[in-house]
Assembly symmetry: D2
Homo-oligomer: 394 residues x 4
């Protein structure tokens, strides 16, 4: 395959949940970095190892999106700045461009049937693409985590699905309906949340039909990021993990939702997968999520790991992670948009398993070691531009 | 090179510091595991990924050593059992074999010149080899950390060294004198401590002349093990580490020594190397070592890492590691003896850089990412038996 | 009131849950301390400030009790020794006396009506008293935490209660039925658990009629002990606590039960009371209890406190408590038995509010500052012997 | 003694180190609170228990001071606001009053002899008093910690001291010279640092001669505050503290100085005193101070406490304190100025031992339990106004 040059490829980033903290931080950050006001810290695609890849530049990205919320973007950004998540002076400097992004946001559509809702969503996305003469659009779901999907027979087959969507009963959860709209419009789809998204047989078929790549699930931004390096450490040293317990205290937008039992179950299941699959057994313990509004966007996660070493000696590791979820997630949203757009340009279709580096609950049957995922990512990026991988920096 | 079959190769493990905690735990553990009384937890060479390698078996190992201390091995083992480091019932079960090991221990030799001291040390080692008809002996330094070596011109050249050793002034620190004796006797040498050991030009020449392989330095058993997975995580995610500070509280034999300023400096320098070389810059902060006798062999290390992410957002990670140094070190001593003996059988000479996985301050210019070191180790082990590497388990 | 001399007053300690970890540790400890095999660490009544009080001596205590479990005491003690909760050599030394305690244990009685059950329980207690010619018996509930009690109209009045107990429907939870039996037999009652115990109007009337003192609820052994000194610190320094969140990981006998939702609710409510009443407002956050069998009797509790200081500056405190619940609770059980027996001898009747020092959820409207509770305790103990309080040691 | 009414008593607060973080935060905070822009969080004298005491109001305070540094106060305040120590909007609101405070600051005087230096310092203070028609001036040392004082025979007697100060050799450290100047001018003196200050026999004599009260030493703002509640907890529960080790990471102005060995020794000695005197024995371990510039004013302190309970069971407590030293110290500076001025008005002379609540290393032989110190403070404050103490709120 000849190497496409994606530099200069105008790329739309259509955010589902475009007025939330992650979306707002992604937009502000992209604007600030390309204006030279901030370094691209946290952006993996700006590391030496990946900088050579044929990706659209940060300045090639154009933002828009859907949201059920109606808060003005500037207002949201202001509240993030007050909370210390965004630097006040930087926010002041990009006011005009923020206003431009505001104009690209649309209310979450709602039709009489899900087919109609999807059609309206797709129309918004297509108009966005046409208005800006974009080469490609990547739809990225950064909205609030859904409860686990209610099964429906039509989820198994794209033809059955098309028919069922025209009825009055809901067939797809919102995240999947957006994936349906994106694929139908020939766009790519990234699910940064644990929601169902493209993970239904009917949607997998559709992505193949429309030659759309997709990636997911659930951005790896905190505790699971640590698990993805610590669990391999225990495995490589032949130490037996007896229990791994944790608690996440968070007060941001998603906190109230995640502390509710159903989405919490979805989230904590995806958090334990990395342990089970890395260690080859499932240690005792579980991860709790508690909503503490006063903590705001700076999440505190505490984990206790008990393990046995030589002759059964009992030992323990404790860690506290005090991270800002939005600041950790936002640069990865930009990375994923750039990588997925380049994958589309390079003719990749369907699940992008080599993007497992970014996710708690990656697509496909891949390893969970961050180092192995990094190697995969570097090779994938090099492959997009026809280069040999040059794994650097870790 | 044809693949040697090392199973059944009788291998001597000559421990410098043979009556200390690490040595005693290594011996007890090897005896217990081969008697089927304990699982080989903590032994990397017993993981599926390495189990196929052509290494001498645990039951092929025979133990002996030098020590300046005179405490009986059984007494030392008893005190470790009282402190919870060794399981009491297991100790009772291996009493007879422990007595056999006791008979192989010799007082640290002391001649009128260093040449004479080295000759006596070599004679002890050679008699051990001959008495047990060993195929090979690996000398492993697990004694107390020395202060940094005093430079001497004769350290630069093996011929000059041989002459200088016959004089009355000391030329080599003890760790290097044992390496000299080992190489002279055609044995391998492993330095599990931060002491100088084989790291002198004259000794590098000698190892080449006698076709001896060697490995080191400073077994990676706690805080640095964590650094070797956490620092790459920060690097791979493009997060900027601003400071990394830590304190080690330990009460075991080495604690009193390490808390003294000179060996402490040696140790903490080797602890920071992994950060500097992994991150490409040196964050603020340092690592302290404090001696707290009551804490005993269960070391507590606390680290605070402050870092910046997207748009400069300040975040932090704290961890507490509560590990038993002897229990973490002992299985690695067994791994290193087996791997080094097999390397010798396979004709490897000089520094064994692919054993960096085991060390804080590895030989050669190698990466510090534990995952990359693991890949190197698997390839090295596979190469010893002429197999293709099959990296598994992490 | 003239000062009774309680030294030499033979005192029965009748344990509800007598084969559990706390009971076994209390018995072993009392035997070991009076045999001079261990110091009375953790026993508050052995501090200089209280040593002068007119209390029965440790050697005046005789143990017996009820339990639904049938495990032999020696077996239970053995398992605690294996888990590191009790020192192995000490256990070996008191074997005979343990056997004597075993003979004083009775299965939890079960009659056709609760009146019959209570009568049998009372008969067991009375026989124990008579068999050993005891001056007084203190019944101490150390059994598993019950779910919150089901309300019943007869709980409000002792006469109605006596009638209702003769019916076939349950009227009282087990903890209250034992309190009923104890008071009826003229004995004292201590509730070391969060269960209902004597906290029902009918039982308060009964205690007055039979001149029985009682104490409770819920021994303060870990996280709440810390709250009782840290919350006053924040209050005295005019720092505003914004959130106080925590998690308890425990694997001991009570863990499985407490992690279940109903008793957990009882327990965590009693844990928050100290904050609300000390600070004068209720900060955000809650305390979770998770059952992790591998952690065993050594509970790990982690708490995060966020607070505001001068000009609203946001600050935080985190702590990890790694304590053995049985070892923390057992000496307090001995303290409470001695103090309650002395209170009875001094003619005290009804709730013993000055024993708040020992409890998470104390009787009466008392302060939660540990220091203030300590002063109350010292005055109470001095009052029992007619001395002026001499608050020392804190 | 009749109760003076201090409300409305115009009180000067002359800060030694008036351009440092603590001084600037104290001034900004006092201005903000009296302008109704902020609550008096952290001010102990604003708690209900002390609000009734006859103290000068916050609005009665006038600020001035000496400093060797020349940074403008507004500049210092701006840098504290950038670092998140002071709220930006509040700083903007009090610009004018800050300018007024700036005009009251004088460069640290330097004469040919220490007598001359002291005279100039006293003249600055007296002019400040006269210019504002102040009823009284309290001199508060918040400057950088000095190394331990060099002994000089003249420190033992005020007459000898007066003569020696006229010579060319230094006799007193700076903190003591300011105390000398303050006392000579009939002013009170508070030492918020571990420096020598008034702790010399000659100065004690002088304070008596001029009827000046004084207080100190070393404001209790972080780790020692915690020790003053946790150590009594261990003592009251008869738990034996085996080791107490800690590390303080701080990057603020005082950090660089404290990490140097001499002042560090002064500071850490004062930190251990509370343990030794509360527990009655000195546990193993020590407290380290490390300077990490990037950490700034938000200090992180980590402590590990190991302790033994019933039957010797080994347990542990760890805590991390993440506090802003300036924000913790500044309100106490205001409290101390108000209390000391009221003490002077009430005729108190010499060391004010009941202010131990505020200090790591209090004057006199007092207890270190924060709760007991709180009671002393309440009684002292009530005594100043002739009221009975009404200990509330803790």
């Amino acid at each position: 395959m000849s190497a496409p040059n994606c530099r200069g490829m105008r790329t739309g980033v259509w955010l589902i949940g475009s007025r939330g903290s992650v979306a707002a931080t992604s937009i502000v950050g992209a604007l600030a970095v390309r204006a030279g006001l901030a370094e691209p810290l946290g952006c993996v695609t700006e590391l030496p190892a990946l900088r050579g890849a044929a990706l659209p530049a940060l300045s090639d990205l154009v933002f828009g999106g859907h949201d059920v919320a109606t808060i003005r973007l500037a207002k949201k950004v202001e509240s993030l700045a007050s909370a210390g998540v965004l630097p006040m002076p930087l926010v002041a400097a990009i006011g005009d461009e923020l206003y431009a992004a505001e104009k690209e946001m649309r209310p979450a559509p709602s039709g009489r049937t899900q087919a109609e809702t999807a059609a309206r969503a797709g129309a918004d996305m297509a108009e966005f693409r046409d208005r800006h003469a974009l080469d490609h659009v990547v739809v990225v779901n950064v909205s609030t985590t859904e409860p686990p999907a209610v099964p429906h027979p039509a989820q198994a087959d794209i033809d059955a699905l098309r028919i069922a969507l025209r009825g009055h009963d809901p067939v797809l959860p919102a995240s999947s309906l957006y994936a349906y709209a994106a694929f139908t419009a020939g766009m790519s789809y990234v699910d940064f949340t644990p929601s169902t998204g493209a993970r239904l047989p009917a949607l997998v078929q559709l992505a193949t039909q429309t030659a759309s790549p997709y990636a997911g699930h659930d951005g790896k931004t905190g505790e699971t990021l640590l698990k993805s390096v610590l669990a391999p450490m225990f495995a490589m040293r032949h130490l037996r993990v007896r229990s791994w317990s944790g608690i996440n205290l968070l007060g941001g937008g998603d906190g109230a939702n995640l502390a509710a039992s159903a989405p919490n179950a979805a989230k904590t299941a995806s958090k334990q997968r990395v342990l089970r699959e890395t260690l080859g057994y499932e240690p005792e313990g579980r991860t709790r999520i508690d909503y503490v509004p006063e903590i705001g966007d700076f999440k505190t996660a505490w984990d206790l790991v008990t393990f046995n070493g030589f002759l059964g000696t009992a030992m323990r590791l404790e860690f506290t992670w005090h991270g800002c979820d939005s600041a950790l997630a936002a640069p990865l949203v930009l990375d994923l948009a750039r990588l997925t757009a380049a994958a589309h340009a390079a003719g990749r279709v369907g699940p992008l398993a080599p993007l497992a580096f970014f996710f708690k609950d990656p697509l496909g049957s891949v390893g969970h070691s961050l180092a192995a995922q990094w190697t995969d990512l570097c090779e994938f990026a090099a492959g997009l531009s026809g280069q040999a991988a040059d794994v650097v920096g870790a």
